[in-house]
């Protein structure tokens, strides 16, 4: 049962409806106004909007290296490709732009195009602008970039090592910032506590990957030096000044528009901003409008990521499980650059570091490091998944180590209802709720007892079954000042105060009496238009369909501010609240104007059922449209000195959001919802797969404006959390190669992996927001990974591996290591093995019988012309020295085809018995390196050629073709020897195997 303890309606809430008894729309599960256009295909996303005539299409050349110096970029051949209008490089960026502002004082330059160094795989190096995207991509292959690889930094541990190669040499180390905080008296608490309990955890990189990728259309008006951009940017618009600064124009000369529909964001579309600047630069350089649509490979490889975090927490605990103090060490991997608004991920939860618990003493050390990985940014749950993974694993450990029930440990530490509003150790203000009662309600209505019985029954059958819990507070409406907690009080004083979370809404009436609403919330599919129509219709006593809501944003025309946008779950509390404030102001002004003609006082004027009337005389009513339109048609008859009531714009900021104090207390969010989750999981003993048997999630998100949409937010957040907990990871090799470049490698859960949770509610209205609502969309991304991991720990009765909890990792814990594999038969190819340097390592061996004497085979192998014919995809082979060649090779693996310039060398020559063939190559698609050892053995029928090879592939090919590399390399090597056999006069090669694509399609079940 959905349990709603608080029943709301307009009549009960003096602030919502006009007090008429008409059923309020707010609080009802209204289906969405957005859906008609989306379901019928007429909705327009950014890529569907018309581009200006003459628009050039952009394709981006990206770094195949994790870390390298750029020695030179030669664009001449690319410029000669038909249809290419311009090629833009870092030199152009230096000419017309400046580096992005960084949120901490640190000498690190981040340009929209790499200037002299690349710092992660996928970093933009050059842009081709052509008449079509297809042509632009063709030309990418023709850009020659010379790199000098540098040692990569690919883990937090490595970044903390002072000996690691600094990404930003002026910084001197990869530790960008470190701050310590102390609240209460943690040392004394640790001294007096019965004992201390610790956890060390690491949260991986992952991302919510919206189904629509980034889109930018940019144009430059040379006469006014002004930029106009359309992009599916999601905000926060605090990034607008960052973009304008990078383009060296005032904000008024960067007009940014958002499309009517956007295909999801979950925070990620904040990270389109460097590309907005990049495409604006391109439009300026080319003198023509430019359009860029990110593809999925680009998105996965280089768009953005959640931060990886290493965390150690020590708790000072009493024997009964009461936690007296926490000591936290958090180290955040922000990737190659500290890109705005980072290091926000680390500070977003600073006011609620102690979660839902009453823990008065806290010591914190926060470190921020850079690594050779994609820069991080907003991602659903933003810092909360990381924090609570550590905190809730810790609470679980406290129970295990003290021999207590984990639920009792949670109970013993929850903030009490009487303590609300509760001030946390670090300065947060938990605004409302009864956490203990909410937990007990969930235990009862979610049937925890039945779940425990189920666990016992399963265990009695010898199965691995566990129950996990998590209790968290879900912050919403971020304080724009929290990020400055990373600065010292002194630095903050110099920079000037930052605080608040201003939301903007405009409400207008038109000459026909229609009501329109505009907000700067940049929705990405959540249904803002629906909720705002509910809110505003209630204020005016109108029908839902009488209010039309526009959420496109145009910074050149609409009201907005730096807090505008779609992030930090700010819509329900802040934006819907601002719309209610604006509508109420407009209604009150109309009431004042019409009161005279109704023989009434303004406060007695009522708006209901499409009519306006005096409370005491409902029969003498005017139609709303008539009252509303009068201001347009007859301003001359307004009472003296009064303005018509045509439009109101409200700027609303939550009162409790102040700047950090000198002692670093910060209320980092306006509202805090409460979540309590529990779940049962079963682990397959054979495969190690985790199956979620039952999941119960209880939310107190304040007042629910539209329960249908609230449920949708919870289900969506839960699905993301299941992915993060069990499947998803942006994987990198030790050398920084990116290994998750397709949706076949980065595993997004499907309908078969996401169960339906039981959702329970309680509603404790927030005293802070106009409508009493709090955010709800991110909570499960914070609670669910920890809850599932706690359940897995319970099932395994011991430690859990790091996220994601994949079958392989869990199976490795359940099963003893397997005995080494027996040597395979000749011709077998070993499975891809992790290479020494961590890239995609491949190795294998095999042998073939060739009907020619060893001397003849030897001669073929040593003849450059013959070798050129043997190498698969070889288009040209030139001698580069004794027994060394330079080859142009075109190789396709899965969906990517690449032109490689390869250096091939023959060594260890022992004619005609053995030789070593080694090669390395690089291209826009990545790098490859390999050696093959070939021996020739005389046999009755000719020669037995035996080969053993090992190879490593990196860059795009490794990222997208990972699953296919093994078979692809087998295929290529097979081709080499088939040709050798044919050259040596053997039988023709057997019929070719089906192509890779055909096999992939068959694998996917698409090739009927």
């Amino acid at each position: 049962m959905t349990v709603m303890r608080t029943v709301w309606n307009g009549a009960a809430d003096p602030k919502a409806a006009a007090g008429t008894g008409a059923p309020a729309l707010v609080g009802r599960p209204m289906p969405r106004v957005e859906d008609g256009a989306l379901l019928t295909g007429v909705a327009r996303y950014a890529d569907d909007l018309p581009a200006k005539p003459g628009t050039l299409h952009a394709a981006i050349l990206r770094s195949p290296h994790a870390h390298a110096e750029i020695l030179g970029v030669d664009t001449a051949a690319a410029l000669a490709v038909p249809g290419v209008a311009a090629v833009v490089t870092g030199t152009d960026a230096q000419r017309v732009a400046s580096p992005f502002l960084v949120g901490v004082r640190a000498p690190m330059e981040h340009w929209c195009l790499a200037v002299d160094r690349v710092r992660h795989v996928g970093e933009p190096v050059a842009v081709v602008l052509a008449d079509s995207r297809y042509q632009a991509e063709d030309a990418l292959d023709r850009i020659a970039v010379r790199y000098r690889p540098l040692p990569p930094v690919t883990s937090i541990v490595q970044a903390l090592d002072p000996a690691s190669e600094p990404l930003h040499p002026a910084l001197g180390s990869n530790l960008v910032n470190s701050r310590s905080f102390r609240y209460g008296d943690p040392e004394a608490a640790f001294a007096r506590a019965d004992r201390s309990v610790s956890v060390e955890v690491e949260f991986p990189r992952n991302s919510c990957t919206p189904m629509e990728c980034f889109v930018v259309l940019a144009d430059h008006d040379a006469a006014e030096d002004a930029y106009e951009v359309l992009s599916n940017f999601s905000g926060p618009f605090a990034v607008h000044p960052v973009m304008a600064r990078a383009l060296k124009v005032p904000g008024s000369r960067l007009r940014l528009k958002t499309p009517p529909h956007s295909g999801g964001s979950f925070g990620n579309k904040q990270a389109v901003f460097p590309y907005i600047v990049l495409m604006a630069v391109c439009a300026r350089v080319a003198g023509r409008p430019v359009k860029w649509v990110e593809d999925r490979l680009e998105h996965l490889m280089a768009a953005t990521s959640a931060t990886a975090r290493r965390m150690r927490i020590d708790a000072a605990v009493e024997a009964d499980g009461r936690v007296l103090a926490l000591r936290m060490e958090q180290t955040e991997d922000c990737g190659a650059y500290l890109r705005a608004p980072e290091p926000a991920s680390l500070y977003r939860n600073h006011g609620n570091l102690t979660g839902a618990y009453d823990i008065p003493n806290l010591a914190v050390t926060n470190r921020i490091v850079v690594t050779n990985k994609t820069p991080t940014g907003l991602n659903r749950g933003f810092g909360g998944g990381q924090l609570y993974y550590g905190l809730e694993r810790l609470m679980n450990r406290v129970a295990v180590e003290l021999g207590l029930d984990p639920l009792d440990v949670i109970r013993r530490n929850l903030v009490a209802a009487e303590a609300m509003p509760y001030r946390t150790a670090s300065g947060g203000s938990l605004d409302s709720g009864d956490y203990p009662a909410t937990l007990e309600e969930a235990v009862r209505d979610g049937a925890l007892d039945a779940l425990k019985a189920r666990r016992d029954a399963r265990r009695a059958e010898g199965r691995l079954y566990g129950i996990g819990y998590a209790a968290v507070v879900e912050p919403s409406i971020s304080n724009m000042g929290y990020i400055t907690t990373v600065l010292t009080a002194e630095e903050r004083r110099k920079a000037g105060p930052k605080n608040g979370a201003q939301a903007t809404a405009s409400v207008a009436v038109d000459p026909t009496g229609g009501v329109s609403v505009h907000v700067s919330s940049a929705p990405q599919g959540q249904g803002h238009r629906t909720v705002l129509a509910q809110v505003v219709a209630d204020v005016f006593g109108l029908r839902f369909e009488d209010v039309r809501v526009n959420t496109d944003l145009d910074t050149g025309k609409d009201a907005w501010s730096i807090a505008s946008g779609n992030y930090s779950s700010r819509f329900a509390g802040a934006v819907a609240g601002a719309a209610q404030v604006a509508a109420t102001r407009l209604r009150d002004r109309m009431a004042a104007l019409v009161a005279g003609s109704l023989n009434s006082r303004p406060e007695e004027v009522r708006f209901a059922g499409g009519k306006v009337f005096a409370a005491g005389n409902p029969d003498n009513a005017l139609s709303f449209s008539r009252v509303a339109a009068a201001g347009h048609w007859a301003p001359g008859t307004l009472p003296d000195g009064r303005e018509a009531a045509l439009r109101e714009t409200a700027f609303w900021t939550p009162e409790p959001l102040k700047a950090p104090t000198d002692a670093d207390y910060i209320n980092s969010s306006a509202c805090y919802g409460f979540i309590f989750d529990f779940c049962g999981v079963e682990i397959d003993r054979d495969t190690g797969a985790v199956r979620i048997d039952r999941y119960v999630t209880m939310h107190d998100a304040g007042r629910l404006l539209n329960p249908l949409l609230v449920e949708g937010q919870i289900l969506g957040g839960f699905a993301h959390a299941v992915g993060a907990a069990l499947y998803e990871e942006y994987a990198y090799g030790d050398d920084g190669r990116f290994l998750s470049g397709t949706f076949a490698d980065y595993l997004v859960p499907t309908a078969c992996e996401v169960p339906v949770p039981v959702i329970l509610h309680r509603e404790s209205p927030s005293p802070v927001t106009p409508l009493g609502a709090k955010g709800v969309g991110e909570g499960n991304c914070m609670s669910t990974p920890a809850c599932l991991a706690n359940a897995v720990a319970d099932a395994l009765g011991g430690p859990v591996p790091s996220l994601p909890l994949t079958p392989a990792k869990i199976a490795a814990l359940i099963h003893p290591p397997e005995p080494p594999r027996p040597a395979g038969p000749a011709g077998a190819v070993a499975a891809p093995a992790p290479s020494a340097s961590g890239g995609r390592g491949l190795s294998g061996e095999g042998s073939r019988e060739v009907p020619a004497p060893p001397e003849q085979v030897w001669a073929i192998l040593l003849d450059p012309k013959e070798l050129a014919a043997l190498l698969p995809g070889c288009e040209a082979l030139d001698r580069a020295g004794p027994d060394a060649y330079r080859a142009e090779v075109v190789v396709g693996i899965g969906p990517v085809r690449g032109r490689y310039t390869a250096e091939v060398a023959l060594s260890d020559l022992d004619p005609p018995r053995s030789l070593t063939l080694s090669g390395s190559g690089s291209s826009a698609l990545g790098t490859g390196r390999g050696t093959g050892h070939v021996t020739l053995e005389r046999t009755a029928g000719g020669t037995r050629v035996t080969y053993r090879y090992s190879a490593e592939v990196g860059g795009k090919v490794a990222a997208v073709g990972g699953r296919m590399l093994d078979s692809a390399s087998r295929l290529l090597i097979g081709q080499f020897f088939e040709k050798l056999v044919a050259r040596a006069g053997g039988a023709p090669a057997p019929a070719e195997r089906p192509g890779l694509l055909a096999r992939l399609l068959r694998f996917l079940g698409l090739n009927r």
């Binding site: 959905t2 996303y45 189904m211 599919g525 048997d693 699905a719």
Partner: protein, 191 residues
């Protein structure tokens, strides 16, 4: 790129790679003609040559399902099909499911579309067209799928917004069945 077996007529190797070729399809019942290089994807042809934007592109490597259209009735990935392979074929896209282009969508959507709205089976809507096209083919062949069968079929589509629950509920509803579990049920949620 080898010809896809899914297209009945293999692409003739006689097509010149750098020339544009005339491609005619019957798009949602109306013959439409455009020009396509042999390598142009059907998804790009529909969206940018014919202006049929209702078909979305989410990955261009065949995994996400956003681009699913019906080719001669069969649901297929438009991003794994070349425009020239579609020449002479019937292509049905989301725009053709209802008469939506002739006026307000109210009352003109199919029962399935209506059920999607009722059950909040979409948020950003980017995956929705592909899912509807797959379902329109699938439900024709399997009018009363079990929830397990349905989820199995849906696993060919990625949705990042909904967690799939609303989609499953909508389909179970429109096929006259109750979904085995919903968020209100106290019953265990099994997958």
């Amino acid at each position: 790129m080898p010809p896809l077996k899914s297209a009945a007529t293999p692409v003739a190797s006689v097509l010149a790679a750098d020339a544009r070729h005339t491609v005619t399809v019957v798009l949602n019942g109306t013959p439409r003609t455009g020009q396509a290089h042999p390598r142009l994807l059907l998804s790009d042809f529909l969206r940018h040559e014919l202006g049929a934007h209702g078909t979305r592109v989410g990955c261009e490597h065949g995994v996400c399902g956003a681009c699913t259209v019906r080719i001669d009735g069969v649901a297929q990935r438009a991003c794994l099909t070349l425009a020239v392979q579609a020449d002479g074929r019937r292509i049905d896209t989301v725009e053709g499911l209802s008469q939506s282009n002739q006026g307000p969508t109210e009352g003109r959507m199919t029962a399935l579309q209506e059920a999607f709205r009722r059950h909040h089976a979409l948020q950003c809507g980017f995956c929705t067209a592909g899912i509807l096209m797959s379902l329109s083919d699938y439900l024709g062949r399997n009018p009363k799928p079990t929830e397990e069968e349905l989820r199995d079929m849906l696993s060919g589509h990625l949705c990042r917004c909904t967690g799939y629950a609303g989609i499953v509920r909508a389909v179970m509803d429109v096929t006259g069945q109750a979904a085995a579990c919903d968020t209100r049920s106290g019953e265990a949620a099994h997958v």
